[in-house]
């Protein structure tokens, strides 16, 4: 049943237009937002690379080859090798796996928790909302990276610790934006009708308020993917992220500067991968925001600027 209720918002967004097939919808989207479509394509490509890593990588990313250490890019190793002869291209490809897995899990976890919390705040209001607002404010009082570092130190550096640490930093963003959506949705007549017909608060929230939050949720999740990728890379770079030998873009960069004279290809390609991926997801996020929910843009702006006062 919950699956079926997830449908309406798409219809709400494109109310005026007749129901078009997904493909024509996509075509229209990419004609209007060429950059966003490009970002989406690159993003999909990165996801594909991550999923198909074992098929695409020319070498084993963990296998040291002492006959080919510190080789600059050449015919056998297109992007060169590192200090112990591991193939950089293979490591970048496998790095996509870790980076995207961490970023996607953290963003989905953090934004979902934040959004549910936000719906509850916006719908229930009162003391619960007041206290929640203070708590979110406290969570936003830490610079993202600092908070993530402290949490991952406390619960141990591993894949799940890093995901958890990044997810926590995403919660208040979801909470604030979705709260403002829920605040306006709760005043709508059909929600009142639901209330009047005796539905419990939980029921109204799940079936009437929540579906309206799907569009902003998608926007939020996409825009935060880029941030999550950068935080993950930064944690890896600082040596407190997913520990080696698992290749991540961040810890590859960290490896590269341990050398006295860092080989440029080790410093360049993982960072390029981060930049291209983040750029792609950011462009996609901007495009989705403009299409799916133009109202969210000023709301988001307000949250960034004056929202602290409400």
């Amino acid at each position: 049943m919950a699956v079926r209720t997830a449908e309406p918002p798409a219809a709400v967004v494109s109310e005026a237009a007749p129901r078009a097939s997904v493909l024509t919808e996509l075509a229209r989207f990419s004609r209007r937002n060429t950059l966003a479509a490009l970002g989406g394509a690159v993003g999909l490509f990165t996801i594909f690379v991550a999923l198909a890593a074992p098929l695409l990588a020319p070498y084993d990313p963990l296998k040291a080859d002492f006959r080919a250490m510190n080789k600059p890019p050449n015919a056998q190793h297109v992007l060169g090798t590192d200090q112990v002869g591991r193939d950089t291209l293979s490591r970048v490809i496998y790095g996509a796996r870790t980076s995207l897995f961490v970023a996607f899990s953290a963003v989905i976890l953090g934004t979902t928790v934040g959004s549910l919390w936000g719906v509850a705040c916006g719908y229930l209001r009162g003391r619960f909302d007041l206290v929640s607002q203070r708590v979110m404010e406290i969570m936003q009082s830490f610079p993202d990276l600092i908070l993530a570092m402290a949490i991952s130190m406390a619960i141990g550096t591993g894949l799940s610790a890093v995901i958890f640490a990044i997810a926590i930093t995403r919660i208040p963003f979801g909470g604030r934006v979705i709260r403002s959506v829920a605040l306006s949705v709760r005043e709508m007549p059909y929600v009142e009708a639901g209330r009047a017909s005796g539905a419990s608060a939980l029921r109204v929230m799940t079936f009437h308020v929540l579906p309206q939050c799907v569009a902003p949720y998608l926007v939020l999740a996409t825009t935060h993917l880029g941030v999550a990728i950068v935080i993950e890379a930064a944690l890896g770079f600082l040596g407190v992220g997913v520990p080696p030998p698992t290749p991540t873009w961040g810890n590859m960069l960290a490896d590269s500067i341990t050398a006295l004279v860092p080989p440029w290809w080790l410093a360049f390609y993982p960072g390029l991968a981060i930049t291209v991926t983040v750029l792609a997801f950011n462009l996609l996020g901007d495009g989705i925001r403009d299409t799916l929910d133009p109202r969210l843009s000023p709301a988001f702006l307000r949250m960034m600027t004056g929202g602290r006062r409400t």
Binding site: R134, V135, E137, I138, M139, S141, F142, P143, D144, L145, I146, L147, M149, A150, I151, M153, A154, I155, G226, V230, A233, A234, F237, L238, G239, V240, L253, S256, I257, V261, P262, W264, A267, F268, G271, I274, T275, V278, L279, N282, L283, L301, M304, T305, G306, R308, R309
Partner: protein, 318 residues
């Protein structure tokens, strides 16, 4: 104004109390046994029970948690920030020695971001959707996506390869040797400033465009003012408020980002100290540094709010 000030101060105090409680929960309660957090599981297992008890008592970790928390707050109030578990220097010394470097980086970055971002934003808004506007927006999108620490690494490498130049990696305060000090802080400040400048350019462009469509701007145009005067004197002051606020939000990026960027440049600032402490699992140092970062962040946001209220009477009286 005074009432607004008082209310804002009380809010900030409540937030800070919550912040300190959060730090305490994350670093003292989440890991379970603090000794495990400091020494790791293996290190902990190697110690004799008597040693464990002695060290726990030494660090004050054997008291009940509320007592520990209260004592921490009292200590902070008295300026006693404890000392590093591994290095023997006090946290207060650490902050006094490294804090100024990071503060310099943050202020310079702020300066760079306004210096670059504001003119670009104004130029963009002058002729929206023109070629220069497109270029400016493309570049700002790019700079938002590039991780600062990677850009920093590339700059360090390029300087090293092409000019054989390496910035000093020792602590040199600005009052000791301004020239050497500038070489240390300039790189991180520029990298962080450019990323922030991109946000400032974006924000000032969209705010200016919003203001330009308002009635009083049309009036200014209608009375025959030159376009640049209309923008500079009438539109800009009204568009600047959100830009000031976003600078406060961006400071969080700078404080967090400087941790990684300092590492990339090898700058011995507070961020490096934080990284070292986290890697060494030096709980007391991490605890106080995280709190310091949060206090600065909250403090700056209070200042931003106050400046906002000062510049915009509507907020003061609402």
């Amino acid at each position: 104004m005074r009432k607004y000030l008082a209310r804002r101060a009380v809010f900030a105090l409540v937030t800070l109390l919550g912040v300190s409680l959060t730090v305490f929960v994350i670093l003292r309660i989440l890991p379970g046994d603090p000794l495990v957090a400091i020494l790791g599981v293996e290190g902990h297992a190697r110690m004799t029970p008597a040693d464990r008890v002695r060290i726990m008592a030494d660090l004050g970790f054997s008291d009940p948690l509320p007592v520990q928390y209260a004592r921490w707050l009292v200590d902070i109030g008295a300026g006693r920030l404890g000392r590093s578990f591994f290095r023997g220097d006090t946290v207060a010394d650490l902050i006094a020695r490294r804090g100024p470097i990071t503060a310099e980086i943050a202020f310079l970055a702020l300066f760079v971001s306004w210096l670059v971002g504001l003119p670009v934003g104004i130029l963009s808004a002058f002729k929206p959707n023109s070629l220069p506007d497109g270029a400016a927006r493309a570049i700002s999108v790019l700079f938002i996506a590039i991780p600062g620490f990677w850009l920093g690494m590339l700059i360090v490498l390029a300087l090293l390869f092409w000019f054989g130049y390496k910035a000093p990696i020792i602590i040199v305060q600005v009052w000791e040797n301004p020239w050497q000090n500038l070489q240390i802080v300039l790189g991180p400040a520029v990298v962080l400033g450019l990323a922030q400048g991109a946000y400032i350019a974006r924000m000032s462009r969209s705010c200016l465009l919003e203001v330009i469509s308002e009635d009083f701007v049309r009036t200014a145009r209608a009375k025959g003012l030159k376009e640049w005067l209309v923008v500079m004197r009438h539109a800009l002051p009204n568009a600047l408020l959100p830009v000031i606020t976003i600078s406060g939000v961006l400071l969080g990026f700078v404080l967090g980002g400087s941790v990684a960027v300092e590492q990339a440049f090898g700058v011995p600032g507070l961020g490096r100290a934080m990284v070292t402490a986290v890697i060494e699992r030096d709980i007391i140092v991490v605890q106080n540094l995280v709190l310091l970062y949060a206090v600065i962040f909250v403090g700056v946001n209070v200042l931003v709010d106050l400046s906002y209220a000062w510049l915009d009477p509507r907020i003061r009286y609402s």
